[in-house]
């Protein structure tokens, strides 16, 4: 009797769990429920967005043996392949939008004309894993200062060269406070070598206070805007797929 009862109880447990999963699954498709589920994001930003606390920095010895990567394949365009072959000759990072002095900076300019900043920080992927790496580059705040942001600007948008395989280009955005954070970097080096293609060559945004998807790879253009929405969607490729714009949790 007991032997038979046990699998039976297990079945009941699985069936009731399955029922809960099914109810929650259909609720997820309801737009009012979705709006409710997404509501805490603003609260999280309001609480955790206060101040400019620094992400933990590590020692050289803590650096992970390999900097794991995922996301899209590297950009497949002919132009990108040519740049890789020609050591980025002719590539320039464009800064435009709501700035007094729109500008383009090639890599030698970024390396030689701006202060080099380095940080050994932990990269936390939304999937759950973490790696530690040393990123070097230009403070985003320095770039924005060089282009002189106009007073009514609210967001900084990062346009990237990689796409999801169906032509949708990766993009990301930060608000002005996040953009001004003293660890928000436009990185050209990873572990003292030029950023490898799979990790975001030639320039990767690094935001160590948020999850990895904020740290957009292959950035080609920085656009300063007054608001998101319209062609800028919810402020990022993964945000458009339902992930939080505020990736601090």
């Amino acid at each position: 009797m007991k032997l038979r009862r046990r699998p039976f109880l297990g079945l009941i447990a699985a069936a009731s769990l399955s029922g809960c999963a099914r109810i929650a699954t259909s609720l997820t498709q309801n737009q009012h429920v979705r709006a409710l589920l997404e509501a805490p994001e603003r609260l999280n930003l309001a609480i955790l967005g206060a101040g400019q606390p620094l992400a933990q920095e590590y020692a050289e010895g803590d650096i992970s043996p390999t900097f794991r990567h995922n996301g899209f394949d590297p950009p497949s365009s002919e132009q990108y392949q040519r740049w890789v072959r020609d050591d980025w000759h002719g590539f320039a990072l464009r800064i435009d939008g709501m700035v007094e002095r729109p500008a383009s900076f090639d890599l030698p300019t970024l390396r030689n004309k701006f202060v080099r900043r380095s940080q050994i920080t932990r990269h936390d992927c939304v999937e759950g894993w973490s790696v530690i790496g040393k990123w070097s580059g230009v403070l985003l705040a320095d770039l924005l200062a060089a282009a002189k942001v106009k007073p009514l600007a609210q967001y900084v948008v990062f346009h990237c060269m990689d796409d999801d395989g169906t032509g949708n280009l990766y993009y990301e955005s930060l608000d002005m406070r996040q953009a001004a954070h003293p660890q928000t970097l436009m990185a050209y080096d990873l572990n003292d070598r030029p950023v490898p293609v799979q990790n975001g060559a030639p320039l990767r945004l690094k935001v160590p206070t948020q999850l990895g998807y904020k740290s957009a790879k292959h950035v080609q253009r920085i656009e300063v805007v007054a608001s998101l929405g319209g062609p800028l969607g919810r402020g990022g490729y993964w945000e458009d797929q339902g992930y939080e714009w505020y990736a601090g949790i």
């Binding site: 399955s18 929650a24 805490p40 609260l43 932990r122 973490s130 948020q210 601090g248």
Partner: protein, 266 residues
């Protein structure tokens, strides 16, 4: 304590105040959703590492799928050096759409059933707030669970009574073993689960480096978070068994209306 004498042998005792009843049911719902959406999140990278950063290939626990030499899919659970075949449930199981796929936890155990880290995170973070608000409301009553000398003195007797679980008598006050269990859940397991969850956030890490460090680093905090979930599920199973065996109707009624029936004189 409010008592109604129903007849010479049975009286009703007002055992659970409204706030306790409400937070009990809301917390139960929240914990259920948190466990199931947590499994959805875990599915995105079903491996745990005993360190700050991930040590890929050297996990403490992982759930995965591979193939037999003749191409049959196999699901497995790996804990340290031990590997258990779990095809059909863990590693390789139902995808929620009538088929099977490589996924750590099966579709019937995750919220949502289909694979979506984004939606799982939305459910998880929403109900994390629900649980924390519940805990704040409940806090004023939680200290009733603090064990006193009498509880400790009567613990051996209570332990003996529980050797035959269906003979455990219905008493007006929590028996010492019950009280200690609830105490452990409310003051030990729940704080560990909540704090280790907070320790996973890079923004919270920036505000409080000590928090992930307290748990041995970010990836280690995932182990604590996972272990806490297992402890809560174990508690839930025993809780359901005890509620059923010691008078299902009386127990349920007391957690709905507050009134609990006790036989004999106090």
């Amino acid at each position: 304590m409010r008592i109604h004498h129903m007849n010479a042998n049975v009286k009703r005792v007002y055992r659970h105040p409204l706030a306790v009843r409400l937070t009990h049911w809301v917390a139960a719902l929240a914990l259920g959703v948190l466990a199931m959406s947590g499994m959805q999140i875990f599915n995105a990278h079903p491996a745990l590492y005993a360190s700050d950063a991930s040590t890929f290939g050297h996990s403490v626990l992982s759930i995965g799928a591979d193939e037999t030499p003749d191409g049959q899919p196999v699901g497995y659970l790996k804990i340290g050096g031990l590997r258990v075949k779990t095809t059909g449930v863990l590693g390789y199981g139902p995808d929620g759409m009538g088929g099977f796929e490589a996924r750590a936890f099966p579709s019937w155990a995750t919220i949502p059933a289909y694979r979506s880290l984004a939606d799982g995170r939305r459910w998880h973070i929403f109900f994390a707030w629900v649980l924390v608000i519940c805990a704040v409301i409940y806090a004023a009553w939680a200290f009733a669970l603090w064990p006193n000398r009498k509880d400790l003195r009567e613990l051996p007797k209570a332990a003996r009574t529980h050797l035959i679980p269906w003979r455990v008598p219905a008493t007006a006050e929590l028996n010492p073993l019950q009280k200690l269990t609830y105490f452990g859940i409310v003051f030990v397991v729940a704080p560990v689960v909540v704090l280790s969850g907070l320790a996973l956030s890079p923004a919270i890490d920036a505000h409080a480096h000590w928090l992930p460090q307290l748990f041995g680093g970010r990836q280690f905090a995932r182990i604590w978070h996972f272990a806490g979930m297992i402890a809560l599920i174990a508690f839930f199973v025993v809780h359901l068994l005890m509620v059923t065996m010691t008078g299902l109707v009386n127990n349920l009624r007391s957690m709905i209306t507050g009134w609990f029936r006790v036989k004999g004189a106090i």
